[in-house]
């Protein structure tokens, strides 16, 4: 019988399936970080259990780490304690840790792929909702809670209901200045922050398959922002090319065998999806969010939708969101002054993002009064950026290149946006207080963020790109 890619991978990992019970699903790779793992390790201790398959667990410190002076001890006491706890737990339970100071350290969803640990056809989990990122390689990857982190540590399995499947096709070509981030923000704005709940999404169509791996990761990363636990893209030559030669990718004969197997990973032509949505890439302009969930986004030239156009029961929440943002409905965002620009997070902190921003800002300078932080996703990316001389370009533009971590995406370290300030951010969530108490987040692509940095206002990057021509 015809199967979707999700079904193929799922079925290959079912240890036991019994009517009336969730499936016991085998997990190939488990990533952990300092925030959602301590209580799980503690649980193992209380039960007197080891980590069942420690070699399939990889740890890094990312959420709490400072992005300046990482060679010094962490100043903030609770952050330091949590990171130290991870180090202690990993040593005690025999788990490999790429902690601060390690050349592989970085945001968990950036380092897995760049090290070749993330591979097609695998089941991958992490106590972090943006684990969906790894689906870009054609894997089943999803975020879990701490009780489930403990479950995977104890058994290398999870009890899971098989998800429903959705296919989202984006066809055609995107216009100038429109990136993967705009595609995914557009999709979320069309189907809402809850539109994908209960589904695993397979992205397909020419506007998706033509994307680089890094761009595909940006798409899959934000699947959770429409409620879908996972999003994936069938692996192809782009995927294999990316993985070839990576630190932990298979080598030699093993590589050939792996690629042969990965080539079987696609949805059959007549496979049944529970839901299919189709979008046209040409309809997408650079996107920006105006509200307090990622579904509240629009094309950058649009006006903020009217409150009275929302369904009646939703109007109260809608107005609450706009009040928080200090944004009026029916008004444009173009030209609105901004205070901060954050280029980073597991959504947009990879080499291509940094190169694109550097290419755009070379010879330009940030506007007065705007603070610009560039936080690379990993130590390797930071080093590569310096090797390519991007640090010099950023410095000349007044953009501050910092050290890797989650940083101002969620402000668990010192990188917080002050109350009331507007931040154009390449991260994934514009929730109230996400980037700092009472901070106001406008989600956008790296290019749109860089354009705002240069003008000090919400800007249609296409106008600045046109100047080049």
């Amino acid at each position: 019988m015809s199967k979707t890619l999700v079904e193929k991978i799922w079925n290959a990992h079912v240890v036991k399936s019994e009517a009336g019970f969730p499936d016991i699903l085998y997990i190939d790779t488990h990533f952990i970080h300092e925030v959602t793992s301590p209580q799980a390790f503690d649980g193992l201790r209380k039960r007197g259990l080891p980590v069942f398959r420690p070699k399939q667990t990889i740890a890094t410190a990312d959420h709490n780490v400072p992005t300046l002076n990482q060679h010094l001890p962490i100043k903030e006491e609770l952050s330091r304690y949590q990171v130290d706890m991870l180090t202690k737990n990993c040593a005690e339970f025999g788990v490999e840790l790429y902690g601060l100071g390690h050349p592989f350290q970085g945001i968990v969803h950036v380092i897995g792929p760049e090290l070749g640990i993330t591979q097609p056809g695998a089941t991958i989990v992490c106590g972090d909702s943006h684990t969906s990122t790894h689906g870009a390689f054609g894997s089943i990857a999803f975020g879990i809670g701490t009780s489930q982190v403990e479950q995977v540590m104890a058994t290398q399995c999870l009890l899971q209901q098989k998800p429903k499947t959705m296919k989202i096709e984006v066809n055609g070509e995107t216009g100038i200045g429109v990136s993967a981030k705009d595609i995914i923000l557009y999709i979320i704005s069309q189907i809402s922050a809850a539109g994908g709940t209960g589904y695993f999404i397979e992205y397909a169509g020419s506007a998706i398959t033509s994307l680089s791996m890094e761009a595909r990761m940006t798409i899959c990363n934000m699947s959770i922002e429409m409620g879908a636990r996972g999003g994936l893209i069938a692996p192809d030559e782009t995927t294999f090319e990316y993985l070839k030669g990576k630190e932990f990718s298979p080598k030699g004969e093993e590589w050939d065998k792996a690629v042969a197997k990965w080539k079987t990973l696609y949805s059959d032509a007549d496979a049944h999806f529970d839901k299919v949505l189709t979008f046209n890439a040409a309809d997408i302009e650079p996107m920006i969010t105006y509200g307090t969930n990622p579904g509240m986004g629009m094309g950058i030239t649009q006006n903020v939708p009217a409150t009275n156009k929302q369904a009646v029961p939703e109007q109260l929440s809608y107005q609450k969101a706009l009040n928080y943002m200090g944004i009026a409905d029916n008004s444009p965002l173009l030209g609105k002054p901004i205070d901060y620009v954050f280029i980073g997070s597991c959504t947009n902190s990879r080499m291509e993002d940094l190169r694109e921003v550097a290419n755009f800002v070379e010879g330009k300078h940030k506007a007065d009064g705007v603070t610009v932080w560039i936080v690379p996703g990993s130590k390797q990316i930071e080093q590569q950026a310096i090797a390519e001389g991007l640090d010099k370009i950023f410095e000349a533009a007044g953009f501050q290149l910092r050290e890797p971590g989650c940083s101002a995406c969620l402000g668990m370290n010192e990188d917080k946006i002050p109350a009331g300030k507007y931040c154009v951010s390449t991260s994934n969530r514009n929730f109230e207080g996400r980037q700092g108490q009472n901070a106001r987040t406008l989600l956008a692509s790296p290019l749109t963020a860089a354009a705002a940095a240069v003008t000090g206002r919400v800007t249609d990057v296409r106008e600045l790109l046109a100047e080049h021509v």
Binding site: Q39, G145, T155, L159, A193, A194, M412, R429, G433
Partner: protein, 194 residues
């Protein structure tokens, strides 16, 4: 894990949609390494001002509302996977959360901690908000065995869905780890086939 059978209680209404886990427990409170104590920071930024004075218009600061059932707008618990959200709600004294729609990860986390997520229709949710507005002490009964939720003042009742396995876990206080550990041999056999 905490057992759940039947609960009769007044409700605490939070008529806001898309409440994400960053609102339930902001990231700056996730630095604790134990499961306890998150309740005091539940909905912190809605509940307290910058000087940590309670905001009088927020429902958790209104003493006329009390109860073990939190009732909230649709798409409750979206965003981050932090289980700390479920721990915080439970630590603040709630045993059940009612909404017309739950985000997946939150729902799983709640069930794994014995905090019952009860999904009702939009109409029933609306009715709950109306009844509690009439009288803050109006009680609701949640019967897990029968899978029913009832507004006692009006007798309105709905049934709710729950996975039968999860239901038995809640009633008996079992958790998933016990379940899989009992089948560890199967897991090892599966590994041999890979």
């Amino acid at each position: 894990m905490k057992k759940f059978e039947k609960l009769t209680s007044a409700i605490v209404p939070l008529n806001i949609e898309n409440i994400d886990t960053d609102q339930i427990i902001p990231a700056r409170f996730l630095k604790a390494t134990t499961r306890e104590g998150f309740g005091e920071n539940l909905f912190c930024d809605w509940r307290y001002d910058e000087n940590r004075n309670p905001k009088p218009d927020f429902v958790l600061n209104d003493k006329t509302y009390a109860g073990k059932i939190l009732v909230a707008g649709k798409n409750f618990g979206c965003g981050s996977s932090r289980e700390h959200a479920a721990w915080a709600i439970q630590d603040a004294g709630f045993d059940a959360v009612v909404s017309s729609f739950f985000a997946d990860i939150f729902k799983g986390n709640a069930l794994n901690n014995g905090l019952l997520p009860v999904q009702v229709s939009d109409d029933f949710l609306h009715q709950l908000f109306i009844e509690v507005a009439k009288n803050h002490e109006n009680e609701v009964e949640i019967d897990l065995e029968k899978q029913t939720i009832t507004i006692l003042s009006t007798g309105q009742q709905e049934t709710f869905e729950i996975n039968p396995y999860k239901k038995s876990c809640l009633i008996n206080g079992y958790d998933d780890i016990d379940f899989i550990l009992n089948q560890k041999q199967l897991v090892e056999e599966f590994e041999q086939t890979k």
